[in-house]
Symmetry: C2
Subunit: 320 residues, 2 copies
């Protein structure tokens, strides 16, 4: 008989692991309903003996999705001192032990989906649980982090409202203060500082969350997970076959260039991953689009739809 | 009568400025010989009153060159403490003043050229002069830095040898120890650490150079500048019309993705620029290609030409 990790009495880390495994299956199946034939292929990887691993589910060259990944990872071992120092900036409770190494456990699901059609928005989602403990095995600290956000090349208000409303509904079940706080956090986190514009039209983002019981926070994460498919699938169903011009495709490519800029220059998770020895680069950089473009000093025409998007990225809107 | 900055009695900074202005004209003219009609367009910019500026010369959608820029900048003012701290890691002589700000002058030419044809290599060149001084106007420190390197998608040994030989000849005029040292420095600097492969097949790179008279080092830089056109133009003339397959174009796009990864994740100049308030983002990110691509876990077929390039990028070769 195999041990069922998804029971209320199991440790939180096992219940989070069971949750991300279940959600990987649900989300890939939900997205596949938008694809006539292409399917996610699962790629299992290991960090080596006693250090965990993950499963990357990747779709490429579908009819709807140009590139996308829904990855889970369950990794553990000892964080080297340099990684501990980088993390401490964002995680107030992280302690260093005498030798500088910190035993840790991290588990999460991370997803980025880039559709072909320039009218169909890119999306990103990530929920993770982190735990450290002392050499004697006693718990030291733990937290949840994550969020989900939407990155359109062309703005459709109803798509933005749906995405935000579904996530607000999920959070409101727990605390009406969550959505406004996490919405603002998202706008701030996904700011492309050197461009003074946000990567997309936001969503929710939180990190270092440990001020309620782990049971309650796990339920918050589960409800946020549940909000994703209803917040995104109807939009893609509506936009995936919208006729588009070469100019619209080109604008999408330029916006993807900005996506790459954010992920490679500013995203803390990407930087932490690339700097951590033994991390799986292919799973980290799965977030990058199949195609992207850069033009020198490009500015859309005043009053155009492209310009309308940029204005929103420079001044985030309250969608709900 | 206008002051002639390019005389032996003028301060080094003025002579370097005159050099980069002259070289911008020579290099753009030299590259334009490879283009039937497209021309570089000059875009002058200013950092604001008393802080300098530059001229970006950009070519886009030519027949030979998909995108390229030959930029000069002459900037000065006060480096904020955060920038001083970041620079000190690489520049041993940089001192902080009482208020943390350091008066500085920086002048350089920076170039990246991306041809269309996957058989025609991308190239990058940058030479710069940096100076700081004390509040009383006395000089504090100065140095030269720079180099030039080649990034092919398909390896032609003769192209690599020509590029290295021309730069070696320039350096050998001054010191036979320069080329081996700067060639190795280049391979080390342009390592994409998270991929364990270099960006291209190298060239020369040096930084923080101040161990000879500024006059002599200015001449080293001038000779390196002079080496560029003969090291690159014959190669592009030979490769720009080579027939290619869609698969070869695709491989070039993937290699450009790696180029973007290096520039955004690892290049110190790019990071320093993006983090420095008031810097001109469009001129810094001019280095990015018009188009780039990413595929999940891509590996070329063993024994293919693509695989042959990768092997060299993982084990740099002595070309001359």
């Amino acid at each position: 008989m195999s041990f069922n990790k998804d029971t209320v009495n199991a440790p939180i880390r096992d219940r989070m692991e069971a949750l991300v495994r279940r959600k990987q299956k649900e989300i890939t199946a939900g997205l596949e309903t938008l694809e006539p034939t292409a399917r996610f292929r699962a790629d299992e990887w290991s960090r080596g003996e006693g250090q965990g691993g993950g499963i990357s589910c990747v779709i490429e060259n579908g009819e709807t999705f140009e590139k996308g990944g829904v990855n889970i990872s369950v990794v553990y071992g000892k964080l080297p001192p340099a990684a501990v120092n980088r993390m401490r900036a964002d995680h107030k409770n992280l302690k260093t032990l005498d030798d500088g190494f910190v035993p840790f456990y991290a588990c999460g699901l991370s997803m980025v989906i880039h559709p072909h059609n320039p009218h169909a928005p890119t999306t990103h989602l990530n929920y993770r649980y982190f735990e450290t403990w002392n050499p004697d095995g006693t718990p030291q600290t733990w937290w949840f982090g994550g969020g989900a956000d939407l990155t359109p090349s062309y703005l459709y208000e109803e798509d933005a409202k749906l995405f935000h409303q579904e996530h607000k509904n999920a959070l409101d079940k727990h605390d009406p203060a969550f959505y406004p706080k996490f919405k603002k956090w998202c706008d701030e986190y996904f700011l492309i500082k050197h461009r003074n514009e946000t990567r997309g039209i936001g969503g929710i983002f939180f990190d270092d969350l440990d001020d309620r019981s782990p049971d309650e926070l796990l339920k918050v994460v589960e409800d946020c997970f549940d909000a994703f498919l209803p917040s995104y699938v109807p939009t893609i169903a509506k936009r995936k076959d919208t006729p588009f011009t070469p100019e619209e495709k080109n604008w999408q490519q330029l916006r993807r260039g900005r996506y790459v800029e954010f992920n490679l220059v500013l995203d803390r998770g990407t930087q932490f991953g690339l700097q951590t020895p033994g991390s799986r680069v292919e799973s980290i950089l799965m977030s990058l689009p199949a195609t992207a473009s850069w033009a020198y000093d490009h500015h859309p025409e005043e009053g155009s739809r492209e310009d309308a998007l940029l204005k929103v990225l420079k001044n985030p809107i309250e969608w709900v």
